[in-house]
Amino acid sequence: MDALKVENLSKHFGGLKAIHNFSMTVAAGSIHALIGPNGAGKTTLVNCLSGLFFADKGSIRFYNQSLESLAFYQRARLGLVRTFQNLELCQHLNILENVLLGFYLSLENSLSASLFFSSKIAQQEPRVKQEALALLAELGIADYAKQLVTEVPYGVLKKMEIARILAASPKMLLLDEPVAGLNHKETDDIMAIIENLAMKGKAVLFIEHDMKCVMRLAQKITVMNFGEKLAEGSPQDIRQNDKVIAAYFGK
């Protein structure tokens, strides 16, 4: 079954064709990598998929539901969540609170219940805190729970960002450069996390420049260049594809 099906997607910024007639599918429970040289349109594609941008043309179907007209937050509610290339953080909240934000959709949020501290609200807070701590422990950053995001290492923040979207119990994750700027140990950790996610049946589409990581993780790779699809296939195919080699290293 296809988790995500993109057909003839186009996004132009003035004369620049950031994405042009792009099609791809991501199978449910698979790890799919999106690679390409700088400026190929990878992040624009993720922005269009997640709803940060609206595509000019083409269709996006997520588990057979059409997404084009849905806003960013509505797509997140359907279970399509993303991380950002540059960390997007709530600076004045600590790590635990940042992750608690992720549970928003599964909690009681009505204004009246919140104002009068209804029994439902009273019960959900300790429960959700436990869940968030468990999630942090699973990713190995439970020790940092009480620290502000400005005080912890970059690698922890990267993991925290994944914990935050996992808290939203997504069906599919769009990860924009999940291991960029991390050391070997942290990279291995994040790769293990992503593998684990796929085993749990979640689809993952990730952008990455670290080829070791891409080749080890991805079951399928799509290569983009100048907003169009250059090649697609298994890591083996991509490694030997002449067009891809030309795009990366020049002829």
Partner: protein, 343 residues
């Protein structure tokens, strides 16, 4: 510093000190010597209630409003008109006027809440000025620039003018509203609200509909402003367009910022500052405003977190001192024990 270890939510959670604060307010009349003190305190508490809503809006959700004075004044006027011109029972007037102002503000602010930052400030400023102009110019209803008299608040035909009654009414309303605001901010709703202020990308990416959220919290703050404004009209027995003017809106914003944005106690402190401090400066006659301005500038320069941050810093340095003393004491004891064991 110790407080840096806490996230925003815990740092401003008022629960720990709330009981002390409530007792303080309840016991405060002990020091009042005359009706003027009661009068000042009642106006302070009512303003603090309105400011509380504004602080939630500006300090937590990050949405600025320069129209809250107008909503406060409009609440007062609506109550006054209903009670004085239509002879409705005052309690009903308060309910109706609060409801009316909330509905009106929802209709006019829903479209402009899409704006951000300075643009939102400008749009709310315009709304506030429109409300002010309408109140000033519709003299048939509002009495024009001279304002209008308001009948006294009465329950079952008995007018209530007792200073104690008003003081404790205002106190209980403020405490109730603080409790509600604290609940709101400590819940998942409050967290989502802060994420909108901090980073709207995060809230979007987690499925938080920031527009509805902003509308909700704007309504909450308008509700508090209109409600306390209605009460104020009945309390003062007189209302004039200057209560709904831009200056009045600005005063509420000064209360919130000066007291400490993102702190519920800050609103109370800020309101005390703006309402009560000028009375101490009366001695300086025409230099009063100058001095007030100077104090505001100084506070903002040296404590951008507002007056509550000054208290926080004092409190924490004291706390750390006591703690370090206790620690060294405990260390010495431990050493002694350890030494004894060795012997």
């Amino acid at each position: 510093m110790n407080k840096n270890r806490l996230g925003l939510l815990q740092r401003f959670n008022i629960k720990r000190h709330f009981l002390f604060f409530a007792i303080f307010l309840l016991a405060l009349p002990v020091v009042f010597q005359n009706n003027f003190h009661f009068d000042l305190a009642t106006i302070w508490l009512l303003s603090a209630t309105a400011c509380l809503g504004l602080n939630v809006l500006v300090g937590y959700a990050g949405q600025i409003s320069l129209a809250h004075g107008a909503f406060w004044g409009l609440g007062g006027y609506t109550s006054a008109i209903l009670a004085t011109r239509y002879n409705l029972p005052p309690l009903l007037c308060i309910v109706l006027s609060t409801f009316f102002v909330c509905v009106l503000s929802y209709v006019i602010t829903r479209p402009i809440l899409k704006l951000r930052g300075h643009y939102l400030a400008l749009a709310t400023l315009a709304i506030g000025i429109i409300i002010y102009l309408v109140l000033r110019n519709e003299s048939d209803f509002t009495g024009g620039p001279d304002g209008m008299k308001v009948v006294a608040l009465s329950v079952l035909g008995r007018p209530l003018k007792n200073v104690f009654f008003w003081y404790y009414l205002a106190t209980s309303i403020l405490l109730l509203c603080m409790w509600m605001a604290n609940n709101l901010l400590a819940s998942s709703f409050g967290r989502a609200l802060m994420s909108i202020n901090e980073n709207e990308f995060v809230s979007f990416s987690l499925g938080i509909n920031s527009e509805t959220m902003k509308a909700f919290v704007f309504q909450f703050s308008v509700f508090l402003a209109a409600f306390s404004g209605s009460l104020y009209a009945f309390y003062a027995g007189f209302i004039s367009p200057s209560d709904a003017s831009f200056l009045s809106s600005l005063e509420f914003l000064i209360m919130a910022v000066l007291g400490g944005l993102g702190s519920l106690y800050g609103s109370v402190l800020g309101a005390a500052f703006v309402i009560i401090l000028p009375q101490f400066l009366l001695f300086f006659n025409e230099y009063k405003s100058l001095l007030l301005g100077l104090i505001i500038v100084l506070v903002m320069m040296f404590a951008p977190g507002g007056m509550v941050s000054i208290i926080e810093i004092l409190f924490f340095s004291l706390y750390n001192k006591i703690k370090s003393k206790a620690d060294t004491g405990a260390d010495a004891k431990a050493k002694k024990k350890h030494g004894n064991k060795n012997l």
